[in-house]
């Protein structure tokens, strides 16, 4: 055989080095989670320059308490987004949880803590109906959840005749107002929630299935993933999370309103996206989402401390989501490109 150039030298040199091409990779999620945490801390510390009262430990506590709602809520939203869906019914389900807690438990027997799971079961039912519509009847997720949202809110409007009554169940008040080991109980609760949520999403069989479904539904089905069941699960979990948030909000403000969930829809999506998840599914971690939720809450506290209006706060949140999406653009376009092909 003939070689076009002096290859023997090439080859012996090559034999020594072997395949020298690199291996190490740091996952994008890790970088993102660290970045979010750093920004979060920087914001808190930086806020001192604006107002010396900010950045103190009590301020951190406030952020954690206020952020707890969003952390719980965006866990469910994150799972739904992970499988490539979107849950727009969260505000309605929050309200459902809140109003059942006040108008039903609060009005009949505030000490009946054992009724709270029933409230969550009702919320799960709403999620299940959405899931059935999306997975079996193939209604696009945003339409199905939006429709459920309208149905639930209208039913609640009818049920309360426009004015919810009743106070917080004792258990909810205890969760939001008492403290354990010098920390507000809700912070302890949320730490536990984060650990369980992280284990579920990153370490459990079900969590892996959700990632698989979000990346490639057909391949997941062939790989033996129970795709029908696992596409439905996130909507149910998401509704339960929203129910928990409803109860927490009731405990926090000792009452429910028909619009109590409205402020949480965009932040729940924003937290997930800022946390490094792909809005198209298949990528992201819950810890990233937690960082996103805390970052948003920190921003919100600073904005209200500075005295900006609530409208501005919403605008800023919207801008953050857009920026996060733009930063993830490369990946977004790749995914769109592969869908197109």
């Amino acid at each position: 055989m003939t070689f076009s150039k002096d290859s023997t030298q090439d080859r012996s040199a090559f034999a020594q080095t072997g395949d020298a091409r690199g291996v190490a990779r740091v996952s994008r999620e890790t970088i993102n989670a660290i970045a979010v945490a750093v920004i979060c801390i920087a914001l808190l510390l930086g806020a001192r320059f604006i107002n010396p009262a900010l950045g103190s430990w009590s301020q951190v506590e406030t952020v954690l308490v206020l952020g707890s709602f969003l952390v719980v809520l965006s866990f469910g939203q994150g799972l739904v987004i992970l499988t490539g869906g979107l849950d727009l019914s969260l505000p309605a389900v929050i309200t459902l949880g809140g109003i059942m807690a006040t108008n039903w438990i609060g009005m009949t027997d505030p000490t009946a803590w054992y009724l709270l799971p029933v409230v969550l079961l009702a919320c799960a039912g709403v999620g299940l109906v959405s899931a059935i519509g999306i997975v079996w009847l193939r209604v696009p997720p945003f339409i199905m959840t939006l429709a459920m949202s309208i149905i639930v809110l209208s039913a609640l409007l009818g049920y309360t005749r426009g004015s919810p009554r009743g106070g917080s169940p004792d258990a909810a008040t205890a969760l939001m107002k008492s403290s354990v080991l010098g920390l507000p109980s809700v912070i302890v609760f949320v730490i536990g929630f984060v650990i369980v949520g992280w284990l579920f999403q990153s370490r459990s069989v079900a969590g892996r299935y959700l990632y698989a479904i979000g990346t490639n539904l057909d391949a997941a089905r062939i790989a033996g993933v129970p795709v029908v069941l696992m596409q439905m699960v996130p909507y149910v979990i998401s509704a339960v999370c929203a129910g928990i948030v409803g109860i927490m909000l009731v405990g926090y403000s000792n009452g429910a309103t028909l619009r109590m969930g409205d402020d949480y829809l965009l932040p729940s999506i924003a937290a997930v996206v800022i946390g490094g998840s792909s809005i198209l599914g298949g990528r992201g971690t819950f810890l990233g989402t937690v960082g996103g939720a805390l970052l948003l809450t920190t921003l919100g506290t600073i904005i209200s401390a500075i005295g900006l209006q609530i409208g501005l706060r919403t605008i800023i949140e919207g801008l953050i989501v857009l920026t996060a999406l733009l930063l993830l653009r490369e990946e977004l376009f790749q995914k769109l490109g592969s869908l197109w092909r």
Binding site: S4, S7, D10, G18, R208, Y209, D218
Partner: protein, 517 residues
């Protein structure tokens, strides 16, 4: 091809002058160096083969040449002018066009629209004129011997083989100077059409880079070959002087034993594991056969003879319209791959389309491998990273996949390593019946050998294998018995030494009666 040799001296600038010069090109994705140093020289009117194992950097080089990615270092010249394409369209502007292995057609547009993209014919109003698009699409099709394809058909309606032909025809249409064919025969059962097109393009003075794993095919159409190994171009050899052994050695760095092993014919008790009787369905017109324990049953067929439907039906992806399937004597009523995996002794399926049905991009190779049997390695529903990795490593060993790839996103692996991962996954699933649809598609020699060995070992341990292959030598080498499908029926069945390429081909084209005589 050889007929052109005398003309060469006289037409120095038409045939034989440098059409594409590549020197010292490299590309890294983050810390992963995909291509370390590649030199390549294409001459007008000649066909150069690009050979290399999976992961050698062939695909990266193709992407650089086609303008999909820009190289980090190195120079490229087309017809002595610097060539730095930043997109496929720019590459086309320099008259360099590529037929990609992972086809780049838009599925929901018509054949004609795909052929003309990105410049669709305009009507007087400046809008796209449907009629003109159709006429021009028809012209292109007939120019490339494809007039049997309806230019108005949506591409997604075409079988994979025709989609590949369209992809190739479009590339040839745009390749005035350089044509790159990446695994052009991966989905084609015969090479007559493609070779005819290549010869026509050569006569126009187009330089062609031909990438294929099928060495026989490469020898037929190419005169020389450049070999890539581990991201470097090792050598360029004249194919007439080099033996297969020489070439394999350059590709893998050591000699490969290419002698055919005859499938072992130990006297097993034929205990049936799978019994299929009168299976009816989309593209299936009553198929009956049995697979015994410890048996490797091959399926040979031309494209679109029902093999896809057969495999998808047995895998639980589509429901049969009639007939029964029994596994271990139990009538199979499973309706999803998941149920199939857990039915009786289990059925596991290696899908046809690696990219859309096989790999889960964004997840690591290890997760991809263990996904089907996650519950088995989980404790109380949770998985430890260690047990996941250990299980994946064992599966990777059975197919001789390098374990350092396990922690990579599977999308970053080469096609061959992806295939190894999927094959390892199928073998490790624990199912006793494997359905392998073209298990070595787009895979190099070294990988093929390890996949064959793994399949044989699986069968020797009592497992049953049904496999379809578009490469007949593979069936000859691997199968204990072979079914030939034709028009949704079993045309012939061969066993043992009767499995020979010429007999299979005769049966595949429907000449079973004459052959039987």
């Amino acid at each position: 091809m050889e007929s052109e040799a005398p003309a060469e001296a006289g037409q120095q600038d038409a045939v034989g002058h440098h059409a594409l010069e590549v020197s010292g090109v490299s590309k890294a994705y983050g810390p992963t160096v995909a291509l370390e140093h590649a030199d390549l020289s294409l001459q007008a009117g000649r066909v150069l083969a690009l050979l290399g194992e999976n992961g050698a950097g062939k695909s990266t080089l193709v992407r650089i040449l086609s303008g999909v990615v820009s190289p980090d270092t190195g120079e490229m010249m087309v017809h002595a002018a610097p060539y730095k394409p930043r997109s496929i369209t720019e590459a086309r502007g320099s008259q360099v066009a590529t037929a990609f292995q992972e086809l780049s057609l838009v599925p929901n547009l018509s054949v004609a629209q795909n052929l003309l993209l990105p410049r669709l014919a305009k009507s007087t109003l400046g809008l796209v004129s449907r009629r003109q698009v159709l006429t021009r699409g028809e012209e292109i099709l007939s120019r490339h011997g494809l007039s049997r394809i309806d230019p108005d058909l949506e591409v997604s309606q075409l079988p994979l083989s025709d989609r590949q032909r369209i992809e190739i025809a479009r590339a040839i249409e745009n390749a005035g100077r350089v044509l790159i064919l990446d695994e052009p025969t991966a989905a084609l059962a015969e090479t007559d059409w493609i070779f005819e097109q290549i010869i026509k393009a050569r006569q126009r003075g187009v330089a062609i880079l031909y990438i294929s794993h099928r060495l026989a095919e490469v020898r037929e159409i190419c005169t020389s070959a450049t070999v890539l190994r581990n991201g470097r171009s090792i050598a360029t050899v004249g194919l007439e002087q080099a033996t297969d052994g020489d070439i394999f050695e350059m590709m893998v760095g050591h000699r490969v034993d290419t002698t055919r092993q005859v499938a072992p014919k130990s006297a097993r008790d034929p205990k049936p594991r799978v019994q299929v009787s009168d299976l009816q369905g989309e593209a299936l017109n009553g198929v009956s056969f049995e697979i015994n324990q410890g048996e490797v049953l091959g399926v040979a067929a031309l494209e679109g003879q029902g093999q896809r439907a057969l495999f998808r039906c047995l895998a639980g992806l589509t429901a049969a319209q009639g007939g029964t399937v029994q596994i271990d004597g139990k009538i199979a009523g499973y309706r999803s791959p998941r149920q199939a995996m857990h039915f009786a002794s289990g059925v596991s399926y290696l899908p046809e389309e690696r990219k859309t049905e096989g790999i889960l991009t964004g997840l690591t190779a290890a997760t991809n491998i263990v996904l089907p049997f996650l519950p088995r390695i989980a404790k109380m529903g949770f998985i430890s990273a260690r047990s996941e990795e250990a299980t994946a490593r064992r599966a990777a060993e059975t197919v001789e996949m390098d374990k350092r790839y396990l922690s990579f996103d599977i999308a970053d692996l080469s096609g061959g390593n992806q295939q190894k991962a999927l094959m390892g996954r199928t073998l490790a699933s624990g199912a006793q019946t494997l359905l392998l649809f073209d298990p070595t598609r787009g895979v190099d020699v070294g990988t093929k050998e390890s996949i064959y060995t793994a399949i044989r070992q699986f069968a020797e341990a009592g497992g049953s294998v049904l496999f379809y292959s578009s490469e007949l030598p593979e069936i000859v080498q691997l199968a204990d018995r072979c079914l030939v499908l034709y028009d949704g029926r079993i045309a012939r069945e061969f066993s043992g030494d009767d499995i020979a390429e010429h007999r299979l081909i005769a049966a595949m084209v429907g000449h079973s009666e004459t052959e039987a005589a």
